[in-house]
């Protein structure tokens, strides 16, 4: 019985090595320790063989010929030489050709010091050039987008950027124009390079042709200090290298994490640094761009600086007084905290204040207990699933890198996408079945899918054929199906989506779910118990109803709740800002935050907290992966990490939380619940641990400095190395409490079939990446990318009104009428008006979108009229 060989044996420079069948020669050689120089090759994109730097001698029927190692797959018996005179001459030749027209810009070029062209010239090129002609000249640099500048003289036409645009992000906003040595990277004059992923092209450009406006000229690589961390601008949890110079955040680069982001980042996570650094002369605490540096107390109606002692004392008084009556106090927010911070606050509110009322969401998410009860998928599983069903908003806007991961599944692996299409979304062109779903009927569509002869809701544009195709793709039990669930419409009651999720979960027992909530560490906050019926460690506490955010606000307005502890901003996050304002006016308010905002106008005490990149801890992403975040800079002024604030506040209330540091919080958390916080902090494994999956470890591939220039090393600085101490190993004291099964989690409200007013349209309030939030408002580079308030309508509705893109429409909401410019969008279903939350009105405010929504009803319907 002969063994079946599963590897391929090749010879490289006389040495025999085993490679995987179909592996690229350049990869096999690199793994075996023979590095072949390269420019255009990038491990996360298809090879093109353009630069010719990777030419090696390969034996063939006509002798040894030069072949591009990045393009050739290994074959049995292949004989390769990478260090012969012929290869060296070819490499020297390629470099001399590349440098012939390359400008001598090194002293003024951002890439200097981390430049693959510099580095490989030193190792493989000659010291001088024989080129005496005039070099090619272009006007430089030119803005090709809001964030990216192009220097055509430096470009070596490797096409990494254009391939990224076509292959990875799929928007092909830049392409090669021209021919021969006049090739340039060019966007269309009418569509600038404002892709949400434009910053990636700057990172992968092997020369200084593409530079990022926010970073340009700000540092030299050898000045930068770096740690690896997790981005918490959204809940995907991309791994990043955070770099600083002189305690100022300078740059964020994407690290290639196999299970999560593959080295890519969105521009918001990449360029929101200014919002963290803040500005030296910040004084306006009502602005989201301001960092709060010291505690504030309201004296005689005005917020004045105070000492920590005074501020904590005042806060303790307010909260304890309120807590003395049942239901007198609650906490709202916490989605931007680390797990340890959230854990500490949970102990404070439920332990010290003895209040059940905590909610990290703002009425704009999904029931945490329901999400925790669902069987989960990882991002990898979703990106390889044979069928993906989405009940989300536009993922490219909400969780951009998740969009990239999923996109690959449909484009490269030809797997199926079944969409509940609520409005604009970038995945629509890739959908196998795209079902337009109006506000208020998602659960009816889910019902139709789940039943073999289910019909689409009345008045729906979904066809029988589409439902049948979707059903047959999904199959009877949902095996191999991943369902991505989010909250596509904040003007629609959460109950609608929650009912749809339950229907799908119950009828497809083998399907798994991937939550698509978007806020920073909302998944970690929920896991720490910051939600009704939730407890730390992803545990479920049945029993009395506790108040979620909207209920707390109602209770504050009614005077039933006297005080509220705000963990983060409120007014910017909640849809019904008016109602929230009324609540704050009626209440005593303690705010723990890193940034200013309109909310502070109602604060009685403000305690400054450290934010992203200023604190140590763990965070949890949408797939439940716990990863470590590291502090790269010290928080400004006297801002503290949340763990310390909570612990000190507890002391002021005369009690101890049982933890005073992040390390202790992680240890206690893991010891009491099994949540892998301390293990992750201790471990130098970069990819963290997925809750509930225990033990799965992903090996990080070796860093290729030519593919990822600028990142010094991928070795995580584990906690042990950071603190210089050797910590005791984690001990799980008792079996970890488990989330409740779906059947146990409360069934949720029933949701009626909406009655669609024939003369009205339903309101869809979706989200955009660039909005009125802190990250964008505080980063001048991103501020121009925020959309203005616009009404998106299907052509059917525009035709009925006799309008075209550019016209205006009067929208009659519940209490007021507003005039908005219209834009045609056929991804918005018929009978739906789509506006985005966080778009800016002409006055820079966000009142219009909010004013349109009727907060009391399941869906909002508005009437439209032409002027």
């Amino acid at each position: 019985m002969t063994d079946v060989k599963t590897t391929v044996t090749i010879s490289v420079n006389g040495r025999s090595l085993e490679a995987a069948p179909g592996e690229l020669l350049i990869e096999a050689a690199e793994r075996a320790g023979t590095y072949v120089p390269r420019f255009c090759y990038h491990p996360r994109m298809e090879p093109v063989g353009y630069c010719r730097m990777c030419l090696v001698e390969v034996d063939g029927p006509r002798g040894a010929t030069l072949q591009p190692a990045c393009y050739i797959k290994v074959s049995e018996g292949m004989s390769v030489v990478t260090d012969s005179e012929k290869v060296k001459k070819a490499q020297d030749g390629v470099l001399e050709f590349l440098l012939a027209n390359h400008p001598l810009d090194c002293p003024v070029c951002d890439k200097g010091g981390e430049c693959p062209l510099q580095d490989q010239t030193l190792t493989h090129g000659s010291g001088e050039t024989r080129f005496i002609e005039e070099k090619r000249h272009f006007v430089k640099p030119i803005e090709i987008g809001e964030l990216v500048l192009l220097d055509r003289e430096r470009c070596i036409q490797c096409a990494r950027c254009t391939r990224f645009s076509a292959e990875v992000s799929g928007d092909t906003e830049i392409a090669f124009a021209g021919r021969g040595d006049l090739i340039e990277v060019a966007p269309s004059p009418t569509v600038p390079f404002d892709s949400t992923f434009s910053g990636n092209t700057v990172q992968i450009c092997p020369v200084g042709a593409l530079t990022a406006k926010p970073y340009r000229f700000s540092a030299r690589p050898w000045d930068l200090e770096q740690v690896e961390s997790t981005c918490t601008t959204c809940a995907v949890g991309c791994r990043v290298a955070v770099q600083s110079s002189g305690n100022r955040l300078t740059r964020v680069l994407g690290v290639d994490s196999e299970p999560v982001n593959h080295g890519w980042l969105c521009d918001k996570g990449r360029f929101a640094l200014d919002s963290i650094d803040g500005h030296q002369d910040d004084v306006d605490v009502l602005s989201a761009a301001t960092r709060i540096r010291e505690p504030l107390i309201r004296e005689a109606g005005v917020l004045v600086p105070a000492t920590w002692g005074d501020a904590l004392a005042r806060a303790a008084t307010i909260l304890q007084d309120a807590a003395s009556a049942p239901g007198g106090v609650g906490a709202i927010g916490g989605a931007a905290l680390t797990n340890e911070g959230a854990f500490a606050w949970e102990r404070f509110v439920r332990g010290v204040l003895a209040s059940d009322h905590m909610d990290a969401q703002y009425g704009d998410g999904l029931d945490g207990a329901l999400l925790q009860a669902l069987p989960k998928a990882t991002i990898d599983e979703a990106a390889n699933a044979r069928v993906v069903v989405t009940l989300t908003g536009d993922l490219r806007e909400e969780l951009p890198v998740l969009f990239l991961r999923l996109r690959e599944n449909f484009v490269k692996r030809n797997n199926a996408l079944i969409q509940f299409a609520f409005g604009q979304n970038a995945l629509a062109p890739l959908a196998t079945v795209s079902m337009p779903v109006r506000p208020g009927e998602a659960h009816l569509v889910a019902e139709a899918l789940a039943t073999s002869d289910g019909a689409a809701p009345q008045g729906s544009q979904i066809t029988e054929a589409e439902l049948a195709t979707a059903r047959s793709l999904i199959g009877a039990s949902g095996a191999g199906v991943v369902i991505v669930v989010g909250r596509p419409n904040v003007a629609e009651d959460a109950g609608v989506l929650e009912r749809a999720i339950r229907i799908l979960a119950e009828s497809l027992p083998d399907a798994t779910f991937l939550p698509a909530l978007r806020r920073a560490n909302v998944m970690g906050a929920l896991d720490m118990g910051l939600g009704p019926k939730l407890r730390p460690g992803r545990a479920y506490a049945a029993g009395e109803e506790s108040r979620d955010t909207l209920t707390q606000l109602a209770a504050l307005r009614a005077g039933e709740q006297k005080a509220v502890l705000l963990l983060g901003d409120l007014l910017g996050n909640v849809l019904d800002a008016e109602g929230a304002t009324a609540a704050l006016e009626a209440a005593q308010v303690v705010v723990v935050t890193g940034h200013g905002g309109a909310t502070l106008a109602y604060a009685d005490v403000v305690l400054p907290a450290a934010v992203q990149h200023e604190r140590l801890g763990t965070v949890t992403n949408i797939e439940g992966r716990v990863t470590a975040v590291t502090a790269k800079i010290v928080a400004p002024g006297s801002a503290w990490p949340d763990v310390a604030i909570a612990a000190e506040l507890a002391e002021q209330c005369g009690q101890s939380l049982g933890l005073t540091s992040v390390e202790e919080a992680a240890k206690v958390l893991e010891a009491t619940t099994g949540y892998p916080a301390l293990s992750v902090l201790n471990d130098v494994t970069d990819e963290g641990a997925v809750v509930g999956r225990g033990g799965e470890r992903t090996e990080r591939r070796a860093l290729d400095p030519m593919a990822f220039p600028g990142i010094k090393s991928t070795n995580t600085v584990g906690l042990a190395e950071l603190s210089g101490a050797v910590l005791e190993p984690s001990v799980v004291a008792s079996p970890a409490p488990a989330p409740a099964a779906l059947a146990v989690v409360a069934a949720g409200r029933s949701v009626d079939v909406p009655h669609y007013d024939a003369y009205a349209v339903s309101l869809l309030v979706s989200r955009r990446l660039y909005d009125h939030g802190v990250a964008v408002q505080g980063s001048p580079a991103l501020a121009n990318l925020v959309a203005t308030t616009t009404a998106y309508l299907n052509h059917f509705d525009l035709d009925r009104l006799g309008l075209v893109t550019g016209d205006h429409v009067n929208v009659m909401g519940a209490t007021s009428t507003h005039t908005l410019p219209v834009v045609l969008n056929d991804q918005t279903p018929r009978g739906v008006l789509e506006v985005t939350f966080g778009a800016l009105d002409d006055d820079g405010g966000t009142a219009t979108t909010r004013a349109l929504v009727d907060p009391g009803s399941v869906i909002t319907q508005v009437r439209l009229a032409t002027s």
Binding site: G49, K89, G93, R130, E133, F176, D181
Partner: protein, 434 residues
């Protein structure tokens, strides 16, 4: 050696003013080949082409029969005909397209039948405006006649043929770049392997790419038999071939000549063909097969015009274009202009061709117009070596396609054969001619 008279296989209608009309075509045996082919089995039609040993008439000279047979294992999806004639001094396909479009169309249909493709495309050079119009008209006529479309001539074979205009890019004459253009993209050649069109061509499916002149031979081959074709010519170079003679000759033009039976001297000097050099000057050199080919000196005038014969002497018959230089021609200027052509036409994908062609052009410019140095000669040869290592023939290449390895041909030939003339340009600091 006296000039051997050749039969007219593809230029038979050249004498008629209305050679391109359907009426003339039908009156001169038009579509008889197709009618006959439809009575044969497809594989038998293919066998005739194989028996003819028809070498591709585009530039590479790959045997058409062998190219077709590479695909007999897998069904062939498409037949793509290369009418993107852009090789400098080549103008034979221009003639076939403008003056005898029906012959070309008939050849394509027969070939499509032999190969059993799903659809056929004719990619024609965009600058052939009149040719495109005539071919489109001929196509319309062919459909009306029943030679194209559903159930051709009542047989069980249907076919659609689409004429696709190019838009001005020499590199699209390279078969994989042509396919890219047909897919609506920039004409970037593909790396071979793996992208041999027979394996992965149009839309990634098995595709046969053949030159216009190759197709034009097929009706005759079917009507007269492959053996009759193979009886003409000599060795592997069977049949006749259209040679495009240009440069310093009295009678430049297209001459359909039996392969091997005549020499370059016949073509250039015989009164029936080139008629000798203008003003009876002395011949200096000639390019035997398009500007991608190395040059020959007067010592090779008596070489028979055959594929292998020319290859053995270190050049190629290529596209069948013969360019003649005389004693009044500046070879430095010629080599410079040819290099400038390659630099302008380089697609730009790969570094050595993109940057190397520009650099070589700049250095040649200095040599021709002033600013040249003696060390430029060694520099030029080394740059050429970095594009085509070893400067051998057939060339090796560090580039993706053969445009790169064609760049050194003229420069290397000019320097090797006329180093003194270069030296004169250096001492003169400019061109000593006119």
């Amino acid at each position: 050696m006296a000039v051997i008279d050749s039969p007219r296989i593809v230029t038979a209608r050249a004498g008629y003013e209305d050679s391109f009309t359907l009426a003339r075509y039908l009156a001169t045996g038009g579509y008889d080949g197709l009618r006959k082919a439809l009575t044969m089995f497809p594989e038998d039609v293919a066998k005739q082409v194989d028996d003819a040993s028809l070498l591709g008439r585009g530039g590479a000279g790959f045997p058409a029969g062998r190219k077709w047979s590479m695909l007999r294992k897998a069904p062939i999806s498409y037949l793509v005909v290369n009418g993107d004639e852009s090789e400098p001094a080549t103008f034979k396909d221009h003639f076939l397209v403008e003056r005898d479009p029906h012959q070309l169309i008939e050849g394509i249909i027969i070939s499509a039948y032999a190969l059993q493709v799903s659809q056929a495309f004719l990619y024609l050079r965009g600058e052939f405006a009149l040719g495109l119009e005539r071919v489109q008209q001929a196509l319309n006529d062919a459909y009306e006649l029943g030679a194209l479309g559903s159930k051709i001539f009542g047989s069980d074979f249907s076919l659609d043929l689409v004429v696709h205009p190019g838009a001005g890019a020499y590199i699209c004459g390279e078969e994989t770049a042509l396919i890219e253009g047909l897919e609506g993209k920039r004409g970037f050649p593909r790396i071979k392997p793996p992208f041999f069109p027979a394996v992965s061509g149009l839309y990634g499916e098995p595709t046969v790419v053949n030159n216009v002149e190759t197709m034009a031979n097929v009706p005759w081959i079917v009507l007269n038999g492959g053996a009759a074709f193979a009886a003409l010519g000599g060795g592997r170079s069977t049949g006749t071939r259209m040679f495009a003679l240009a440069g310093r000759v009295k009678n430049p033009g297209i001459y359909e000549i039996e392969m091997v039976k005549n020499t370059f001297r016949d073509l250039i000097f015989d009164p029936a063909f080139g008629g000798g050099i203008i003003n009876d000057r002395a011949i200096k050199a000639f390019i035997p097969g398009g500007v991608s080919a190395p040059w020959f000196g007067p010592d090779l005038l008596d070489l028979p015009m055959g594929q292998d014969e020319v290859a053995e002497k270190g050049s190629m018959l290529g596209s069948g274009s013969v360019v003649v230089f005389d004693e009044t021609s500046c070879v430095v200027r010629a080599a410079w202009r040819i290099t400038k052509f390659f630099s302008r036409e380089s697609c730009g994908q790969c570094t050595p061709c993109r940057e190397g062609s520009g650099w070589i052009e700049r250095a040649m410019y200095r040599l021709e117009h002033g600013g040249g140095r003696m060390e430029d000669l060694e520099l030029l040869l080394d740059l050429c070596d970095n594009i085509a290592p070893g400067l051998s023939w057939p060339p090796q290449q560090t580039t993706i396609c053969v445009l790169g390895s064609s760049i050194p041909s003229s420069v290397h030939s000019a320097i090797s054969m006329f180093r003194d003339e270069f030296a004169l340009h250096v001492t003169n600091q400019g061109c000593p001619f006119d």
